[in-house]
Symmetry: C2
Subunit: 454 residues, 2 copies
């Protein structure tokens, strides 16, 4: 922080009370709020409500057709409103045997807290609650109005968040929104990102005879695994081109600013390849071309494929069914509904009318312009506090319901958070560094003060 | 049987003692001899040995590197020797919940005995033992020398049977061999078949990064599922042509006799399609073209494919590995070792050097000429006993170790047995009709008598 701008007193309060905030985080992490398995969801929601009570927030547990959304609001002394989007649900902890620590205890070891959800996304949620708390304790009031929107279905596709924001647009209203996540690169620089990819998740089902058969019959009975595979082969070629007619039609060209941002983006190629045991990236890409693809290209990824006998050893079977799960990550302005409809047309045109498409999750991409007051505030404050210029990603390669909470209402949205490149989101031994968590609290406090004046 | 040829007395003995033979079969079926799971194998082997003792046979439990082969010999009063190839192992009974009867009790209901292995292959084994027994009881001696070769690894690819026949060629020696299986068509005609397809069973493994990843990375990290799929697409096209160079080189042309046999072959197309819920056979084939393909074409069948997340719902993952199990059914004179080596060359040539091939079972095809004394005897006797001309299949669409026991030593081999087109081999509710079993005993008794004189 710039000397004399008087945030050091808040920083000092945070340092002196960090054990309290670590305890808040540990307690939330001890609740196994796995939405996919409907475990601990009510308990986690009430815990988050209790923290909002702790910071004297107006609060509501807003019902949806699924898990409720927690809404909190704390008025400040300027007309500016900043919202925080977070979620209280986490991924399942499986495979449990690969964890070195119990996944729902919040053990601290070697400066890191380990827990399912600590990086995605409870660490960020608590850092934001703690920043408001510390600000209030030192200054008695906030420099701007703050809103919390904390959903319970992010890890299962935010299926009812659009319903929430359609029904309660006034709750969502804000001048800017700080998005749920953020990471540090291997070199310690902070990533700031300004958008998310969309998603069309589908399962394709190809059916053959009404029963598995002895594979001697494969000579005269069609095999749905082969048929599905030939169909898939028409969808994407070896050069990674998606061959669905119209798939790329709505993809926006990169602006000059975006191209510049790509050049400035730090992506640790060698570290990444070495960690993964690989010799090269897809299509041999490197440098700006690699980063541009990472940020601005849509994907067509096989998440899973199955047919027939997949156990140990051999079994001679002609399968009756084959299934593949595909996620298309989409970039602005691709529309997930349109993509699914183009896929249907493509399959039909290629003679695969019989292959069923099951829709499993559709999310729109979202992008915030690089030049906006919230991004400028976050970038400035991050550089001041961390003494390093943050890496600005015009979009995140990941997906989230940003459109439903922000772009649908013209609200700029920027992501910053307390994770790092080895946080193991969605994987065993998920963790954050405790120092990053404490610095993350300071960052939000300083951003509130700075953004209020922009 | 032709009147006056004096087999009626043996038939009568079989009718009068059929409960004994049904009990023999039930007791063998009650032993769950699943080779793949090493269950009940020793008990089943000793049970079979006890039946050979019952018919006063010289007998040996011949050790191999795997489960032992049971050898039995009963001398007869002519220089002719007829051998029977059977196996005492069965397929696993899974999925158990689809059985209407306990799979290892041998329940008789509505004229059928239900048990895992009753059709494949214990019914045939007991019918042959019973035929020898009845013959001895009525006539005191056999019209020819009989050998039993009963292995314990047929359902896991007969992996040590070649070792057995190489080590003990004198045990295998015979003028003709009756092979393990045989079925009745929907119209009640008996199938007689004269060969088996070979097999090259392989698993292909394609590896990507050393860990599953969040699928946002799919935009820059290669997906091994896609890579495997593109590789598979080079192996077989939509017209079912195997595109491996040299794959068809050793396939023999059909002889005039074989073409004639195809024309005469009964294949219940409509019944088959209706049972399977299908509108047509592969490539729209029907009639002679369909039957020719069934009998004389090799296959390249996907038995199983798996990669990534295949459970309920959606998970956004970039898999680290993809696997496919393929069985190539081979026809004379394709050689399974050569086919695997051609597959390796094909993958290398197409840029898939990294895809690993795991060999899981190699068996050579085998064919017996249509004109041979054993086939003539079996066809004649079957027509006399069943009052219907049997369907002669120049080859079976299935696979077995016929080469190792017969063709390697120039022994003609013909298949006939007590199953039917709804016996559910390898599937839940495996069964045979009790009447077919009793008639099968008579058939073998009459064949022994007839073949002795040819």
């Amino acid at each position: 922080m710039i000397r004399g701008d008087k945030v050091e007193d808040i920083y000092q309060y945070i340092e002196e009370h960090k054990d309290v905030y670590i305890q808040w985080l540990r307690e939330l992490c001890q609740i196994p709020s796995v939405a996919a398995q409907n475990r601990g969801m009510q308990e986690a929601a009430h815990k988050v409500m209790s923290y909002i009570e702790e910071i004297n927030g107006e609060r509501q547990l807003v019902p949806t057709s699924g898990f409720p959304v927690i809404y909190g609001k704390i008025n400040g002394n300027s007309p500016k409103t900043l919202s925080f989007y977070n979620h209280y649900d986490v991924q399942p902890e499986e495979p449990v045997d690969l964890w070195n620590y119990p996944p729902f205890e919040g053990v601290i070891d070697d400066g890191k807290m380990f827990a399912r959800g600590v990086a995605d996304n409870k660490g960020n949620l608590i850092a934001r609650l703690a920043a408001v708390h510390a600000y209030q304790q030192v200054r008695n009031e906030l420099p701007l109005t703050v809103k919390f929107i904390v959903e319970g279905e992010e890890e299962i596709g935010s299926i009812h968040l659009g319903e929430f924001s359609d029904n309660y647009p006034e709750l969502v209203e804000a001048d800017g929104c700080i998005w749920e996540f953020g990471y540090r690169n291997a070199d310690g620089t902070q990533q700031v990102s300004l958008g998310v990819k969309g998603m069309a998740y589908v399962e394709l089902v190809c059916r053959g005879a009404n029963t598995d058969m002895h594979s001697a019959n494969a000579v005269v009975i069609e095999n749905p695994a082969w048929r599905l595979l030939w169909a898939l082969n028409t969808i994407k070629d070896q050069y990674e081109n998606v061959k669905i007619e119209g798939f790329y039609d709505e993809v926006l060209e990169l602006s000059q600013e975006e191209k510049k941002a790509i050049q400035e983006l730090v992506y640790s190629e060698e570290e990444m390849l070495s960690n993964l045991g690989l010799n090269s990236f897809l299509l041999g890409l490197e440098g700006d071309a690699l980063k541009e693809r990472l940020i601005f290209s849509p994907t067509c990824n096989i998440c899973g494929i199955t047919s027939g006998y997949t156990g140990e050893g051999s079994k001679t079977v002609l399968p009756s069914e084959a299934r593949v799960k595909i996620d298309f990550r989409l970039v602005p302005n691709q529309d997930p509904h349109k993509i699914v409809s183009l896929l249907r047309k493509h399959l039909d045109k290629n003679g695969y009318q019989d292959i069923e498409i099951i829709q499993m999750g559709l999310e729109k991409p979202a992008k915030t312009p690089l030049k906006n007051p919230l991004a400028e505030s976050i970038i400035t404050i991050t550089e001041q506090l961390t003494k390093k210029k943050p890496t600005v990603m015009p979009m995140s390669p990941g997906t989230g319901p940003m459109y439903e909470i922000c772009q649908k209402f013209g609200i700029p949205s920027v992501s910053i958070g307390v994770g790092n490149f080895q946080s193991n989101n969605h994987a065993p031994n998920e963790n954050i560094k405790v120092d990053d968590f404490i610095e993350g609290i300071k960052l939000i406090a300083a951003i509130m003060k700075d953004y209020a004046k922009r």
